[in-house]
């Protein structure tokens, strides 16, 4: 057995296209997942029982079911149910937005609950409404504490997006499968793709560790 990376390198642009799509799905899922997560967290914290119950169910459901099952459901089942034309990209973005929002919701909730009760009282006492308290006083402090957990979850999301290859979205994993078949060089292709993921994720986690250290130095506690 000998390594031969030439065939892989010749079609490297295929992999780069896949990487781009991986980042695209991750980015879009973050774009929708974070606000949705905040909405779920605020709903779950609401004193309105029905609302907090529904939000709690959504969060727990998407945290306890496997993402691949969710993806299959949105890709194969949803189009029959509501008559939409489902593309792999839409299915991927919908699945990972909702799936990650369930996890972000718990991070937001933890962050909000970690803020001292006195902050609510101080804000309330000068006449702020609930919304003003959240926006001006609680969330700005909570978000700072959430950053490490938030980045960790984003990294998990990036890793989970490999599942989209199973519904034929041309992400890095999918391109790897294609290239492996085309070149008959699975060892080299999958090793290189693993290396690309490693570099990407390793750099991101090093960055997040650095940020965490800075936050720790500035005396801010963090939540997980």
């Amino acid at each position: 057995m000998e390594w031969n990376f030439l065939a892989v390198l010749r079609d490297f642009d295929l992999l780069m296209l896949g990487l781009l799509n991986t980042l695209k799905v991750t980015g879009l899922a973050l774009l929708f997942g974070v606000p949705l997560g905040l909405a779920l967290a605020l709903s779950r914290l609401s004193t309105f029982r029905i609302l907090s119950g529904i939000a709690g169910f959504i969060v727990e459901f998407f945290r306890t079911t496997p993402p691949l099952v969710q993806l299959f459901w949105f890709f194969f089942a949803l189009p029959i149910l509501i008559d939409v034309r489902m593309t792999p990209l839409i299915a991927a973005v919908v699945t990972f937005s909702i799936q990650s929002s369930a996890f972000f919701a718990e991070i937001f909730r933890g962050g909000i609950l970690s803020i001292d009760k006195g902050q609510w009282e101080g804000a309330k006492a000068i006449g702020m409404t609930y919304g003003q308290c959240q926006r001006r006083i609680i969330l700005p402090q909570a978000i700072k504490r959430m950053i490490p957990a938030f980045m960790e979850r984003s990294i998990e999301l990036l890793k989970t997006t490999t599942l989209v290859s199973t519904v034929a979205y041309t992400d890095l994993m999918f391109q790897a499968n294609e290239l492996a078949q085309k070149t008959f060089r699975p060892l080299e292709v999958y090793t290189i793709v693993a290396a690309i993921y490693f570099v990407l994720i390793f750099l991101f986690s090093q960055f997040s560790i650095a940020v965490e250290h800075r936050l720790a130095k500035s005396g801010e506690g963090t939540v997980r």
């Binding site: 001292d116 006195g118 902050q119 009282e121 101080g122 804000a123 309330k124 006492a125 000068i126 006449g127 702020m128 409404t129 609930y130 003003q132 001006r136 006083i137 700005p140 402090q141 700072k144 005396g219």
Partner: protein, 257 residues
Amino acid sequence: MSEILRIENLHKSFGDLEVLKGIDLAVQAGETVVLLGSSGSGKSTMLRCLNFMETPTEGKIHLNGELIGTERGGRMRYREAELCALRARIGMVFQHFNLFPHMTVLENVMEGQVIVLGRGKPEAQDKAMAQLDRVGLAEKAAEYPARLSGGQKQRVAIARALAMDPEVMLFDEVTSALDPELVGEVLKTIRQLAEDGMTMLCVTHELGFAYHVANRVLFLHEGTILEQGEPQSILKAPATDRMSEFLEGHSLFKLPD
């Protein structure tokens, strides 16, 4: 003098525990009322009911002649917007300051003016600087609260409340969390406010402050006002055994003869 605050038959329960068992009180404009009582007597709860940090279980509160809330079906109902507007008119200072750590001192004092009262930033800044000057902390405007001493934090909290131009100020054990040497500066600030004619209700353990600054002292016991009167008489000659015991427990302060 005109009546600014009137409380009728105020009750407050937490679950099965009845903390306030019918409080009646009228406060005149410019009056300084000190609330005394041992822990669990309900004095803090009473104060917190006045700006609806706690919602009373029963009873009515009037501010400047207006009844707060509307009566429906024999019970008082309160709307969130109405309570927010009310809290903007009543200043409150807490034991643990509750300053916003992510904002500078100046931003802390501007926040309510801009967000709640809708004042323009230049006006809010002028007001904030004036109030910081009043509590002697104008030069700390650009600092973050974490860099201030406890006494300074509490004076900023007072400035933050004053910047809202409140009609009444509530002080909830504002010196209890301070190192002894820092208590004086805060009490001096509050005393100055009293002399400027601010209407104030203070929950405190500082009997000296009560003696020298209050117009009236209330002694709460088990959710009712057990006795009240001018500090010079009530602190020297309490009518009830309960209050005598309470005063003996706070004998650190020697009353002037």
